[in-house]
Subunit: 182 residues, 2 copies
DNA sequence: AACAACATGTAACCGGTTACATGATTGA
DNA sequence: TCAATCATGTAACCGGTTACATGTTGTT
């Protein structure tokens, strides 16, 4: 325990606790579930898998499909302990990089502000377009909590889109000053 | 134009359009305004300032305080054009790294889910504690849009905190399944 | 036959963060 | 005098992303 896990290690261990998986399966599941708030690329998954195996947190079994090699990983006892320690720890990273918001920040007049708000609203709408179709998938996989995380994503983007559209309308209609409710 | 600007370059150019500033001033203004959605460290600001000057997008003037050297930068015409091109371009990056949400995703039962939701709510509350005191500052600096961006931050964290607390209460009271409105 | 999907991996690149190093000024 | 703040910069580090490289299997 007390090893500090990389971002990629956290998502790998969690996904392997759900069920054993190959690197490829981890990647495709990440892409269809956590990617909107926690992404991972092949270039970090495979090296991390190697490190985690060397550290004794996961174990790999060869399960080829014909001649196509394939390694399925599962958590060891040490891996379980490590994951649980992280799950109980205080979450640290909550980071945002929001370019449309930066454009809004730098807007000098009502026109620019409205344009930035519309652009931001569109971006959130795009996310919704990607999130909503995977909703049934997430709900089916495990009864409860992955679906909750997805729901947060949907609720957040709906909120943000709505907020931006309301503010854009306000700004466009003249009253550009700060103020207003939640 | 058409140069692709780094994350740090975007925030530097924007801040210099508001008014000329030293690297130190850029950093401290970033910390009290955009940092919650667009941060920048000295280690990227000073090298970037050098690159931008070499690229002819900004110009520096020596304005020492006694014997303490100090360089104040301002936008050149090329810098103005570059910034405007970026402002009018489609914003690309909208990234999130949300550790409490990942913990929620991996929670296996109602207890773990509730704990993750409470932890996430607390994190949002912490952000609010940092954002609310700088509200008057942002509102005063320029009449309009920086305050709007700040307001989005406050509204977002309020929304997220409320959502997490509501869901935590739901999960704790037994009905742990997915569902429910916006 | 060809293409999409399965499957694994490496290497170069990029760029932000942390830590370090230095020095002046101001207010307590 | 001492600490906080002003002020600038570099170097090492870290780690994620992109691109590249290779081969199999299943589907059309």
């Amino acid at each position: 325990m007390a090893t500090n896990l990389s971002a990629t290690a956290k998502v790998i261990l969690g996904m392997l606790r759900m069920r054993p998986r190959s690197g490829y399966e981890i990647k495709s599941f990440v892409d269809t579930s956590t990617s909107f708030f926690w992404s991972a690329a092949y270039g970090s998954i495979y090296p991390e898998l190697k490190r985690l195996r060397e550290a004794g947190l996961i174990a790999g079994t060869d399960e080829p499909t014909g001649d196509r090699r394939r390694v399925v990983y599962e958590l060891t006892d040490a891996g379980h302990a490590e994951l649980e320690a992280w799950m109980e720890s205080e979450p640290e990273t909550m980071e945002l990089r929001d370019e449309p918001l930066l454009q809004l920040f730098f807007a000098r007049d009502a026109d620019e502000a409205a344009a930035a708000l519309r652009a931001k609203a569109n971006r959130h709408a795009e996310f919704l377009g990607r999130l909503e179709p995977i909703r049934p998938l997430a709900a089916s996989l495990t009864a409860g909590t992955p679906a909750l995380a997805l729901e947060f994503g949907i609720a957040f983007h709906e909120f943000a889109r709505g907020w931006c559209e309301r503010k854009a309308a306000e700004v466009e209609s003249g009253r550009a000053t700060a103020g207003g409710g939640s």
